[in-house]
């Protein structure tokens, strides 16, 4: 269960998965502690397999946005394989390639992808961490993820089209709201984006942290309003989206803390087998740091 505690960050994704993977990698454990090899692993592996499965996001794994075309996914998949395929990366690429293959298979099959999108849609409600991205109207990323992202405060936007004029690959005018919004982050070169930000007459284009972006874009979308009988129903969106984001993220943090606590109690009840698996994994991480030392030693002594 400890797996689900690992922080999942966009950028460190592949690394995080490799750590996950080491939990249910049967070879490594066997080759390393052949003598102490515990027969519990299979059952263990499965449990962890499930927790990893519900936690990992195929889109993040492939580094594509949720609305990517299958062509994009294909490209991303092949580019990643060119780095991690065992033919190129050696046997250490095996586990990661397995994950990539699985992600690719799901996302390339239309029915499986729909099903998968539904399942991570549920996750949005449940965990609400990084998964606002599949909200309709959110922006996609061109190129690598960067720490800063563009966000248009639609409440302030007057629909002047200045920004669309200067950086047409980044901004579009949403016809339903009459306001501009970001379609593709970094869709144009930096100069054009800078000009368009400057050109906004009401200064409603903001640079925000990437982590906040999903939340902000989520809140910009009108949400169904809780009604009382026939009164007060309809759609609403917060008047100040930044304040709302702050409040919501605070709530989420609390929720996460609660989850965290409940998971921690679960961890305390872990079986000896799980404890061993965990020890193995931490040993593995230590081993990695040792191999770094080894490499540098080798470089020195040739």
């Amino acid at each position: 269960m400890s797996v689900s505690l690992l922080p999942i960050d966009h950028l460190s994704m592949p690394k995080a998965f490799q750590i996950h993977a080491s939990y249910f990698n049967p070879y490594r454990t066997i080759s390393r502690c052949r003598l102490k090899c515990s027969p519990v692993r299979c059952c263990d592996r499965r449990r962890e397999g499930i927790s990893v499965r519900t936690k990992k996001n195929y889109y993040e794994l492939l580094g594509v946005s949720v609305d990517s075309s299958s062509q994009k996914i294909k490209e991303a998949y092949r580019n990643l394989l060119k780095k991690h395929h065992p033919d190129i990366a050696g046997h250490k690429g095996h586990e990661y390639t397995l994950l990539l293959n699985e992600a690719y298979n799901v996302l390339m099959a239309e029915d499986l992808r729909t099903k998968y999108d539904d399942s991570i849609g549920h996750m949005t409600v449940q965990f609400g961490t990084n998964n606002y991205v599949n909200v309709k109207g959110s922006s996609s990323w061109k190129g690598p993820l960067r720490p800063q992202a563009l966000f248009v405060d639609e409440n302030a936007c007057i629909g002047c089209r200045e920004c669309v004029h200067h950086a047409s690959n980044t901004f579009i005018l949403d016809k339903s709201t009459g306001c501009a919004r970001v379609r593709t982050q970094y869709g144009d070169d930096e100069h054009k984006i800078e000009v368009s930000v400057e050109s906004c007459p009401v200064n409603c284009i903001y640079w925000v942290d990437r982590e906040e972006l999903a939340l902000l874009e989520f809140l910009t979308q009108p949400q169904p309003k809780q009604g009382y009988g026939v009164y007060g129903q309809g759609w609403e969106k917060p008047a100040n989206v930044f304040m709302a984001a702050k409040t919501l993220s605070k709530q989420l943090r609390q929720q996460a803390e609660n989850n965290h606590n409940s998971v921690r109690t679960a961890v305390e009840e872990e079986t000896p087998a799980q404890a061993e698996a965990r020890a193995n994994a931490s040993l593995k991480i230590k081993m990695e740091s040792f191999s770094k030392i080894w490499d540098s030693l080798n470089e020195i002594f040739g």
Partner: protein
């Protein structure tokens, strides 16, 4: 914490080190071992050991290597790039087609030489392909009991028994010696091309032959995927030259040699060749040849099977004449066969191309169905195919070209590839890539993403074959399935691993079996047995089986590398069935949605 650091300079010392370490383990509380074999470091340096590519064809072999800037085919002392695959047992020392100087073509067919080993390797004597091989001019005897056939060459009027593995190993040694002389360095790693339809058991036979020849197999590549890699490289180079967009290209590759017919569909972009589907069967030029021999000399069945010395000679002559006629029919619309076989057998016949196509109708129909099947499996529309590539000796036959072009609705075939050298070139490229060689001009910026040609699963639900990894799954792959017991308090279960496409186990190849013991006693259907299969990039299959049951401290778990059986026949399964009946059976657990 105490850390021991070893630098193992010689790989041969490794086993010794492990023994030492095991001794120490008993004395030290915590130890950590970092072993980094020197060989691995070497492969990243400039002096890396490059794996060579070998294409062992049913009739011809070739060997190629990445020479630093391109793929180079190695030639033997007679300046041949393509060497005939045969081994003669004429003298004390057997010699193969690499170095051997044959005085006359017919000598190969006089009984002293064994050839077509690729058609015979890893097959039992109930196999129809083995039965078809009984017409070859050396001894192939079958007793139809499901063991390996008796194969022998005629040496001094006595039959000298041999095996396809031995013949292949002798041949591979000659290839290795030839390459080592030319490259002036020892050769160990190879990439071999194999037919798509080879079972895993046949692959182990190939591995065995390589081990006998002192070669280590880095990759086994289905032949059309090797061609696909070469195609990927060519496409990438044209992109570089034209600075155009590297758009995705789909290609169908049809490879038909003397022994096997293989089809692959590949999607290529940016030097990555992603195999979409594979299909293959053991049909080839040999079948065409035998059909024609039968046609030219009807009622000769008995003659073929007696294997008396005169008749072997006669057969040899007929073979040479027929082969020649088939070759000429590729460019002429009719040929005249005029040959005196001796013993009162004379053939004088004019054969037209129509007759030839009629005689081999079944072969061509099979080719067509393979192409159709592969296209269907790949889910690539015919309109989306950029190129159709034909390689292999049989690709010169006009009918074959027409059949493939008709199925793919094409007027033209891809021309930039040498049909006889494409597979070995692809294998050499893969050898360089998998050895970690990089090229400053990006010529080795390649990757091939393989799929499994055959499904793998276990026996469950009675006599059914339950696939766990289906056909055309991208490898590396890992899949698992849950099974449960069929009897109350069943504490043991037998895992029988099969490979193939049939729904019943008898229709598939047995790969191996093992037993899970110590299942906690429970009513039937309660214990869950997880069977997981893992295929890595070098196509090694591992099967994991473990009991998943909450509340048990040490449930049984096993990891087995397949195949485990060493004889290729299913006798043992019959014995198991006799002894245990269905007491150790498993059934699949329906997935809870």
């Amino acid at each position: 914490m105490i850390v021991y650091l070893f630098r193992v300079f010689d790989k041969q010392q490794l086993p010794y080190f492990f023994v030492k370490i095991q001794e120490w383990m008993n004395h030290n509380t915590l130890w950590l071992l970092i072993v980094k074999p020197l060989g691995r470091r070497k492969s990243s340096s400039a002096f890396a050991e490059i794996a060579i590519g070998i294409d062992i064809g049913t009739s011809q072999c070739s060997i190629a290597v990445w020479n630093g800037s391109q793929v180079e085919l190695l030639k033997n002392t007679r300046n041949q790039k393509l060497m005939r695959s045969y081994v003669t047992f004429k003298d004390e020392v057997p010699s193969g087609g690499v170095s051997n100087q044959i005085s006359h073509e017919c000598e190969i067919f006089s009984g002293v030489a064994i050839f077509n080993m690729k058609r015979l390797i890893g097959r039992v004597d109930t196999d129809p392909v083995v039965h078809a091989s009984k017409k070859l001019p050396f001894l192939v005897q079958t007793l139809d009991i499901g063991v390996r056939p008796f194969i022998a060459a005629l040496v001094n009027n006595a039959w000298r028994s041999t095996t396809p593995e031995e013949v292949l190993a002798i041949f591979l040694v000659e290839l290795r010696v030839m390459a080592e002389l030319q490259l002036k360095k020892p050769i160990r790693n190879v990439v071999l091309t194999i037919p798509v339809s080879f079972s895993r058991f046949q692959l182990t036979r190939i591995e065995r032959a390589c081990a006998m020849a002192g070669l280590h197999i880095l990759r086994l590549m289905p032949e059309p995927t090797a061609v696909a890699l070469l195609y990927a490289q060519q496409q990438q180079q044209t992109v570089h030259e034209n600075m155009g967009s590297g758009s995705e290209k789909n290609a169908l590759i049809f490879n038909m040699g003397a022994g096997y017919c293989d089809v692959a569909v590949t999607a290529t972009a940016g030097g990555v060749s992603q195999i979409k589907a594979l299909a293959g069967a053991a049909i080839g030029g040999e079948d065409i040849l035998q059909n024609m021999m039968q046609y030219l000399l009807p009622n000769s069945e008995g003659l073929f099977l007696n294997h008396r010395i005169n008749e072997i000679k006669l057969l040899g002559l007929l073979r040479v004449a027929t082969e020649d006629a088939i070759h000429r029919l590729s460019s002429q619309s009719s040929v005249q066969v005029d040959v005196d076989l001796g013993n009162g057998f004379k053939i004088y016949k004019v054969v037209t191309r129509e007759e030839f196509e009629q005689v081999n109708l079944e072969v061509f129909e099979k080719c067509e169905s393979l192409v159709t099947q592969c296209l269907r499996d790949s889910k690539v529309d015919i309109e989306d195919l950029t190129d159709v590539i034909l390689v292999g000796g049989c690709s010169y036959i006009p009918k074959i070209r027409n059949v493939v072009m008709a199925v793919c609705k094409r007027e033209e075939l891809y021309k930039e590839i040498n049909p006889l050298e494409a597979a070995v070139c692809g294998a050499a490229l893969e050898g360089a890539v998998a050895s970690g060689i990089t090229d400053p001009f990006g010529s080795l910026d390649l990757l091939t993403i393989q799929v499994t040609p055959l499904g793998i699963g276990i026996r469950a639900d009675g006599n059914s074959f339950v696939p766990i990894i289906p056909r055309n799954t991208t490898i590396p792959s890992r899949k698992e399935l849950l099974f449960t017991t069929t009897h109350d308090n069943q504490t043991q279960a037998l895992i029988l691993v099969y490979e193939g496409e049939g729904t019943k186990v008898e229709e598939n190849h047995l790969l191996g079996y093992f037993k899970i013991v110590g299942i906690p006693a429970a009513p039937k259907g309660i214990p869950e047995i997880n069977v997981c299969m893992d295929i890595d990039a070098s196509n090694v299959l591992r099967v994991f089986a473990g009991v998943v049951m909450p509340g048990t401290d040490q449930p049984p778990f096993m990891e087995v590398r397949m195949p485990t059986i060493d004889d290729g026949h299913g006798w043992c399964v019959e014995a198991l069935n006799r002894t245990y009946g269905s007491t150790l059976d498993l059934v699949t657990v329906q997935k809870k949605m």
